[in-house]
């Protein structure tokens, strides 16, 4: 009888426990729904003419143009200060300068040297499929086309699977695995990144690291493997955390890589690597946006506590300017919630697609 009573008491405690879990999960979620956070992060671009960051901030449905020194500009002035960012508007108004820093400006040239890159922890922190599409990078056609196969990584090589028959293409698998090994690649693959989209001008294939932490580039050229060892001369890299393959219109770069000490490097088209002059970048916790033009890249990082803005030289990647803006203090609504609901449980998060319990 006593055992039965204790069982019932256990179930009662269990129900109370489940009720508490539901409360610490749903009440903060309900509060956030009723009192949403309306603060917005401004959009920031580096002005090569003013040597300062210009921010576009929407206040009361009006876009305001300011710099970090507190100067305010009209839209017309902001366009003039950002001739490469606002070149379409300047062309329309007949205000595009003929040259800048001794370099002739044409819309086509500006467009060719414009580069955008954006990624966030949420895009990266998700389960990988484990299947990759290697496009033909020299088909002789203007448009890229999907290949008839995909590949998977195994401990001893890479394995191409024919889509129509759902069987392994042994000859192609062996050919690509052997070609990689010929360049000193030691399987298994540790990290891999490629952009399988056909909506781009050309294909840079995949960047991948081997079990010895060396970086390689793999492409398919006329159906055959093309491999290059990425030279890390002058860079002190012991390991890699994240790889990105990019295809900028000027074809000067192959990718961006993040070392395990959170340093960002650019992989140039000649297979060399250059450190990008920012303090650090942790792809697991920071959102990054790069807006590049002929002269500078504006690199914006959003972390959990601040926004970091860097301007780097587009050729040497040396730092030109830097600003770190701490996030505003928690709003009254946020402080009320922290006081009233000191323990909060979330299953979804801004930095991952994975569902997992997280206490705040």
């Amino acid at each position: 009888m006593r055992t039965k009573q204790s069982k019932i008491a256990t179930i009662q405690y269990l129900i109370i426990g489940l009720g508490i879990i539901v409360c610490v999960w749903l009440l903060p979620a309900l509060y956030r729904l009723v009192a949403p956070n309306t603060s917005r992060t401004p959009f920031v671009v580096y002005s090569c003419l003013d040597s300062s960051f210009i921010q576009f901030e929407t206040i009361n449905k009006q876009v305001q143009y300011t710099d970090f020194k507190g100067n305010t500009f009209t839209k017309h002035e902001a366009d003039s200060l950002l001739p490469l960012f606002a070149f379409r508007q300047l062309v329309a108004e007949g205000r595009l300068p003929d040259s800048l820093f001794g370099v002739a400006l044409t819309p086509k040239r500006i467009q060719q040297n414009t580069f955008h890159f954006k990624t966030s922890p949420k895009q990266l922190n998700k389960p990988a499929v484990g299947l990759y599409t290697l496009l033909e990078s020299a088909s002789g056609r203007v448009d890229l086309q999907l290949p008839p196969d995909v590949f998977r990584l195994t401990d001893k090589g890479i394995e191409f699977i024919d889509c129509e028959t759902n069987t392994v293409n042994k000859a192609k698998s062996l050919s690509f695995s052997r070609e990689l090994e010929k360049y000193g690649f030691v399987f298994p693959v540790q990290l891999i990144w490629g952009n399988a989209s056909t909506r781009k001008d050309y294909d840079n294939g995949f960047l991948l690291t081997d079990s010895q932490n060396r970086l390689f580039q793999l492409k398919m050229v006329k159906g055959t493997p093309w491999v290059r060892v990425i030279k890390t001369d002058g860079c002190t890299i012991t390991g890699y955390k994240q790889l990105f393959t990019i295809e900028p219109a000027n074809r000067l770069l192959v990718g961006l890589v993040v070392s395990d000490d959170n340093q960002l490097y650019a992989v140039r088209a000649d297979g060399s690597m250059t450190h990008i002059g920012i303090d650090s970048y942790d792809p697991q916790t920071m959102q990054i946006t790069i807006i590049g033009d002929m002269f500078h890249w504006t690199i914006t990082e959003y972390t959990a506590t601040d926004s970091r803005y860097y301007a780097v030289d587009a050729r040497t990647f040396e730092q030109v300017a830097r600003a770190i803006i701490p996030d505003p203090a928690p709003s009254i609504k946020e402080r009320i919630m922290r006081y009233v609901l000191p323990v909060r449980l979330r299953f979804t998060s801004w930095d991952t697609q994975l569902i997992a319990p997280n206490f705040e």
């Binding site: 019932i8 269990l14 489940l18 499929v129 299947l131 999907l146 995909v150 399988a196 979804t348 569902i355």
Partner: protein
């Protein structure tokens, strides 16, 4: 005595089980035919590329079927028992109440697992003809929280129906409904991989809740 209980459950639920098997086979068949049709009309290469590159698995119609099955089973199993308090007959059998109710819950739980297992076998068996093993495994990982949601939903609704007092029933639903919703927070493929131990823990916790309602029923709560 337990064999008699199982026989009684079979007589009560055979129509439900027959209908559930037909509905599950029909929906899985529809999904497989739909996948085959997409592969033939859009092309295998393009379909694979979409599934790999855009995180699409074409099984979203399946999401709430296990939950609906679990909820309907609980209603079909326990509503007749609660009508005119027929469950008192079971509780007066010369057998431990927890054992008799546990046997009734257990045979439904096993039945649901077999039904959900049938879905998995059909999906994996036919899926691997057209898809690589990575996509079949990803499909399984995506469906698994939905099926756990079906089992948890069965426990929660059983807890709710067996509860003798309406005001406590309302509290039970306020606690139970969000717990079921935990299994449906995203349709992104394989994103529940870190949640499986928690959901299995929740399933075990909710499994004993109907016994508490029976305890309250025996206490004579009205």
């Amino acid at each position: 005595m337990l064999r008699a209980i199982f026989y009684k459950e079979w007589l009560k639920l055979r129509l439900f089980w027959g209908l559930a098997v037909v509905v599950h086979i029909a929906l899985i068949g529809y999904l497989l035919l739909s996948l085959r049709s997409t592969l033939l009309s859009s092309g295998v290469v393009e379909t694979w590329a979409t599934m790999i590159g855009r995180d699409v698995l074409m099984i979203n119609q399946l999401a709430y079927l296990p939950l609906i099955t679990g909820v309907c089973l609980a209603l079909c199993q326990w509503l007749p028992e609660m009508q005119a308090k027929r469950i008192r007959l079971t509780l007066h059998l010369p057998i431990d109440n927890q054992l008799s109710i546990g046997a009734m819950l257990g045979c439904s739980f096993i039945g649901l697992c077999l039904l959900f297992g049938l879905d998995a076998v059909l999906l994996a068996g036919f899926g691997q003809v057209w898809l690589p093993r990575e996509l079949v495994w990803r499909t399984f990982l995506t469906c698994l929280p939905w099926y756990l949601g079906g089992l948890i939903g069965y426990n929660i609704v059983s807890w709710w129906v067996l509860e003798p007092q309406w005001k406590i029933r309302c509290v039970n639903m306020l606690i139970g409904a969000p717990l079921v919703a935990l299994c449906f927070l995203t349709t992104q493929p394989a994103c529940y991989i870190q949640m499986f131990p928690w959901l299995i823990g929740l399933l075990l916790c909710t499994a004993c809740l109907p016994l508490y309602s029976i305890y309250r029923f025996k206490l004579g709560k009205q």
